[in-house]
Symmetry: C2
Subunit: 460 residues, 2 copies
């Protein structure tokens, strides 16, 4: 009379779609577009391709829209297309590498929401790079079993050199409320991804074109081994179960980031584990001892942030100038740091005067792995830092025309929600954001002082 049952992850996120950012018709349409644009940008960067992305939103019925997103990325190989769109918790972003995607959820949630509001299937055309064929797939999601339900599948010869992906689906949403957020999202995406060309056509037929402002792709992020400091027991056991090494020194050198022979030997001696021990023979309390000591051992080299792909001071400044046309801009790229074994870099920009609007509060623009974050600002670590700063100490008062830009890149962004709305406050990240903002605040203060002095000079 008490019924015990299991549900699929698709069923879980269907019933609890608030958790994935689909809590009302306005956020649903915003989140759907956001997830698809991020998939396209990731797909282009994965192939080192200058992104060309087109987003078309057409009204087909009252509150019902057809959304089309096209890109020139690497596409999806023939055998992965259905799972990429029909199976929740499936994707290519489960790696230790900087990317916008990470959950294996976003694109599929967009279609799931579309399917449950319009009953229409998803149409995908995939031209995987290096494949002469183009695949045309129509599918639904079988939510209870978390698997794709194929409706149509054809292939044709591809046009010479075309590669990329087209997705088309229908969704019920509040376009009128969502419109300004979607446009703001695309504008900010153009700022933080100046090498991308984005075209957007809205339901009224208006075309917005955001051309690229640089012609060069940044160096791509690379995959890294886990850093010893961030490892927990589960990760450790998985590495043991897959390792080909047969002694502890090779084990540490092979599987952990920047652990060399000397460091491994010194560490093992200090922990009291034999250098020649076969890792598969470690007992549970030895594993626990290793993991705990790895968290606190001082001699490990810090994570190398060469694997990351930040925007860079030059491009961030150019983007801010283009966006706001301010009188003064200061940008700072903080030195690389890490939290829990994950490398990260914080980039901060501050703009003053010119086209920056005056307001009671400092305008805050937040980005994480080149994703603009538009909602839930109050709880974000950047907003907390701004609230905690004594701005008067830098002669910065309420009502001044100031905007702050914070961009965090990492192999692992600590999002607090599956809808990627805001970032948790990890102390190491908070420290770097604070230092970046204060560095900009000091530069702004000197600029204001110089201007005031120059004004006084002219008055004499």
């Amino acid at each position: 009379e008490v019924k015990y049952e299991a549900i699929s992850p698709a069923d879980f996120f269907y019933r609890n779609r608030d958790i994935a950012g689909f809590d009302n018709p306005m956020r649903a349409i915003y989140t759907a577009i956001r997830e698809l644009v991020e998939n396209s940008l990731d797909a282009c960067e994965d192939g080192g391709i200058l992104p060309e992305i087109m987003v078309i939103v057409e009204e087909v019925d009252e509150n019902t829209f057809k959304i089309t997103v096209m890109d020139n990325g690497i596409g999806i190989p023939r055998d992965n297309i259905q799972s990429c769109f029909g199976q929740i918790l499936y994707g290519s972003k489960y790696t230790h590498r900087q990317a916008r995607g990470r959950f294996g959820l976003g694109g599929k949630m967009a279609f799931l929401y579309g399917q449950i509001t319009t009953h229409k299937p998803l149409h995908v055309v995939s031209a995987p790079i290096g494949d002469e064929w183009v695949y045309d797939v129509t599918l639904r999601m079988d939510i209870q079993n978390n698997r794709p339900e194929l409706l149509e599948w054809t292939r044709r010869k591809g046009k010479k050199g075309w590669h990329g992906l087209v997705v088309e689906f229908y969704i019920e949403g509040d376009w009128i409320r969502a419109k300004r957020y979607i446009l703001e999202y695309i504008k900010q995406t153009a700022l933080i991804t100046p090498y991308a060309a984005i075209t957007f056509v809205d339901p009224e037929g208006v075309l917005y074109f955001f051309p690229r402002s640089v012609e060069k792709m940044p160096s791509p992020p690379t995959e890294v081994l886990p850093h010893p400091r961030g490892v927990d027991v589960e990760q450790f056991r998985r590495i043991i179960s897959e390792t080909k090494t047969r002694d502890m020194v090779s084990f540490l050198r092979t599987h952990f980031h920047r652990v060399g022979k000397k460091t491994a030997e010194k560490f093992l001696d200090e922990v009291g584990i034999s250098r020649d021990k076969d890792p598969r023979e470690l007992k549970p309390d030895e594993i626990i001892t290793l993991v705990r000591k790895m968290k606190t051992y001082k001699e490990f080299l810090p994570p190398d942030a060469k694997c990351l792909s930040p925007l860079g001071e030059e491009l961030l400044e150019a983007g801010i100038r283009k966006e706001l046309n301010p009188d003064f801009v200061k940008v700072v790229q903080r030195p690389p740091s890490s939290y829990g074994g994950h490398p990260f870099i914080v980039e901060v920009g501050m703009a003053y005067g010119g086209g920056v609007p005056r307001s009671e509060e400092i305008a805050l623009y937040r980005f994480a792995n080149k994703i603009p974050l538009l909602f839930d600002e109050y709880k974000d670590v950047s907003a907390k830092v701004i609230r905690s700063i004594k701005w008067s100490r830098y002669r910065i008062k309420p009502g001044m025309p100031i905007a702050v830009f914070v961009h965090l890149v990492s192999t692992n962004i600590p999002f607090k929600t599956a809808g990627k709305e805001f970032i948790a406050d990890r102390p190491e990240i908070e420290v770097e954001i604070r230092r970046g903002i204060l560095e900009c605040a000091r530069a702004l203060m000197r600029y204001i002082q110089r201007k005031e002095r120059a004004a006084r000079e002219r008055q004499r």
Copy 2:
């Protein structure tokens, strides 16, 4: 070279445990205890049993604790024990019925976090009601495959009449920071569940006893059919695939809440669907038309909140008096309402003076389905309502000793996070919370005015 893979839901919540409330060592130990106490309370209420719950936290190592939770609930049947604790997205709360649990996640996340920090297994003793045997199970979670890994399984004859559950596991956490929140959580649980007896033993060996203050169980919540207003295409299709009815009138009457013969016929005529049509023969656009019309059709009866189990004005007032010893208490149970087809009831209490501490902001106590919510107050719908009220209109000024209690019960609480920290702002819920608070504010205003008048009388 691009690697496509699927991960299990256990793996997803392991990698993204911030999303489930396990983002730092303090919140982890708090959330773990919270989830287990709520499981025990649900298990007692499921059997109409006056809850007796004991929570023991012992320090076994620096920052490592053994947690034991015991209850006298209905226990878990022999064949469901392992899945209840070793398989994420498995449970008995996937029904249209008011309960603290809903995700099939909470208890398991507590053990998962314990396992990855301490490598120790979970020990469960289950005495399912009506079973002469008691089952003793030790298991680990196989996170990658989302299934239990059984280590030991024995059974013995149960002591006469004992039923319930004992869970023991180890966890690394920041007890010192978590302590006050855990004690506050248990105190507030005692307030909102006055029929429960809770004992808590902390690592210092101090025993806190919260005896029950009423001897009578409230009438239990009951399961309801989905209300037509809340149904989406996916739910509709599932009902069709399982229905035994063969005409649309029976289909509507059998599967939807409070739809009678007359209402069903009238609705079908209005939508233009034949009364005799076999529901399994509905075409996709007929389904879409039905679902859309069901959302807006005015003649459906509103959801019946008899299925809900609120605390009641009398018990809420008694709990507030016991907790704060105020001079004035006003409690209000709002009439039942619904959002998206889910019935809900809002109960509000306001306390003033006496033991209520003075503070700049009104102290807010939040509860949902008898769960105290201690974190993320700012974003909660109740906090938003309080911020939006013109308190001066009710002669209520900052610094007065005022506390507000808001309790929401529903078959479906719209939590914004898997950690159940705060409630989304659905307009219908917001309206009822506002009305409840204003009703209390008016009563408080009259009380204050009477006191001031009496004070002036005495002065003459």
